[in-house]
Symmetry: C2
Subunit: 282 residues, 2 copies
């Protein structure tokens, strides 16, 4: 099987690693406009060779794993270059604008819109790890628009990587993912900012930080090149979640100001229910 990965970082690189393990006779070509990244990916054995868009003609599967603003530009080009039987999938954290960008492409049926709910706060080829996808969810959008035979190839890959599949329309995907993914990143980034600003004046503050702070702020290490375009493409939904989050924080602040600690207790007790829904996520 001939795989091409366009954008060799954490997501594409980890997927290449797992496909190499799960299938026999896999050859992986890496396409990356950042030459350093491509070379690093080669050195790390994530890919077997460095290629260009014109090499996609003979690929069985092309994985497009670039920031979502780049996806919108590059996905059509990729489809222009691939063969009649090549499966193209993207892995972006937004789906509506990306699906929109190729909806009239003559090779639309070669494309599968996908979003793996997996990752770490790190990025680049050196962040790629084995088994990143095991036990995780792959969201697939507009499955009916992909050629049946190519769906089969995609699902065999996802299954061998240990993923469960959920089908959604792109609009619902972007709405829901704003709550359970995009908002967490903003919450962490601004927590990091608030504490860093304080640190400027008060030295040694981080000596007092424990595992709770580290966990809550972890996503503030994430790549701006990946996240800025996500917030842009999912602007409307992200603003909705952010408005609700700020409103809840203001209400919590009011309760403290009014010394209403009985209500504050209840608020936290109600939210403890998150225990049940987090079971099974790690």
């Amino acid at each position: 099987m001939k795989i091409a990965v366009v954008g060799i970082g954490l997501i594409g690189g980890s997927m290449a690693l797992d496909i190499k393990t799960a299938f026999e006779n896999v050859e992986v070509i890496g396409v990356d406009k950042n030459e350093k990244n491509a070379k690093k990916a080669k050195d790390l054995n994530l890919i077997d060779a460095i290629g260009e868009l014109k090499d996609l003609q003979n690929a069985d599967v092309v994985i497009v794993s670039v920031p979502v603003d780049v996806s919108i530009k590059v996905l059509s080009e990729v489809l222009d270059h691939v063969g009649e039987n090549t499966l193209v999938l993207d892995t972006g954290s937004t789906k509506e604008k990306i699906c929109e960008s190729v909806k009239n492409h003559t090779k639309r049926r070669n494309y599968l819109a996908a979003h793996p709910i997996a990752g770490t706060e790190f990025s680049g080829p050196e962040a790629a790890i084995q088994d990143l996808y095991r036990g995780k969810t792959m969201i697939v959008c507009e499955v009916e628009k992909t050629a049946f035979k190519l769906q089969e190839i995609a699902f065999e890959i996802f299954q061998k990587l240990g993923m469960r599949i959920r089908y959604m329309d792109p609009h619902s995907h972007d709405k829901h993912i704003a709550y359970v993914s995009h908002l967490s990143h903003i919450s962490a980034f601004m927590l990091g900012k608030t504490v860093l600003e304080k640190e400027k004046n008060e030295k040694d503050i981080f000596d007092l930080a424990g595992s709770g702070f580290a966990s809550t702020v972890r996503l503030a290490k994430s790549s701006p090149a990946m996240w800025s375009p996500i917030f842009q493409q999912n602007k409307e939904n992200v603003l909705e979640t952010l408005t609700e989050y700020i409103q809840n924080l203001n209400e919590f602040k009011n309760l403290i100001e009014q010394d209403n600690f009985k209500k504050l207790y209840e608020e936290m007790e109600n939210t403890n229910h998150i225990k049940n829904v987090l079971n099974g996520i790690n």
Copy 2:
């Protein structure tokens, strides 16, 4: 060595476990107004016997690990009951009001104000674990007000538990800890609330949640009985951090509304610096 733990939960229970391992001939008495908790602690072998305040007379060390509102009431009572050579330490996440509560007590020199920067989001005796304190920081306040011989006992325990010690005044402690601990809890609780509220209307939203969300919202599982009194006692500092946090969130929101994604990128890039300060925290 005779140890008494007043309030047998995650913090006191874990400390009892480690002291038993680190020292020979340790006997641990548990004092808890919740009989179920005390019995559970006995069943779990965190303590050797269930006792009462009057039994503290003969203890070498008393660890007061109760919610901070209870500390303020019970710490003076504990000091009333202990012997001349008993070390009493508390483990509360606020220090100014607790130190204030015993400043005129005739046995003030028996007391050491401490705060271990360690814990998990779980609570109760069943949450107690071995080695919770290894490699963690113990903040000690007003060390000069504790009898020298009792300081020595405390530092021997902390050292054997694998902790490093940092000295602070209670006022600075409460101010700094609001940033690196108390604010993270509010941020997580309100993130949990925002997403749970959405879930009421939109089923299955949590199927889409990944490890990033789980990490950011983890502290929302924390005990309201522990955290409501902390927010109350550290009201002023917590309100300050919360005001700054909400302001930063509003500014981030404005940048998205104004399509200023260049500045948004820079904001995130600046905050990526958190990577460096988080090194060594796990």
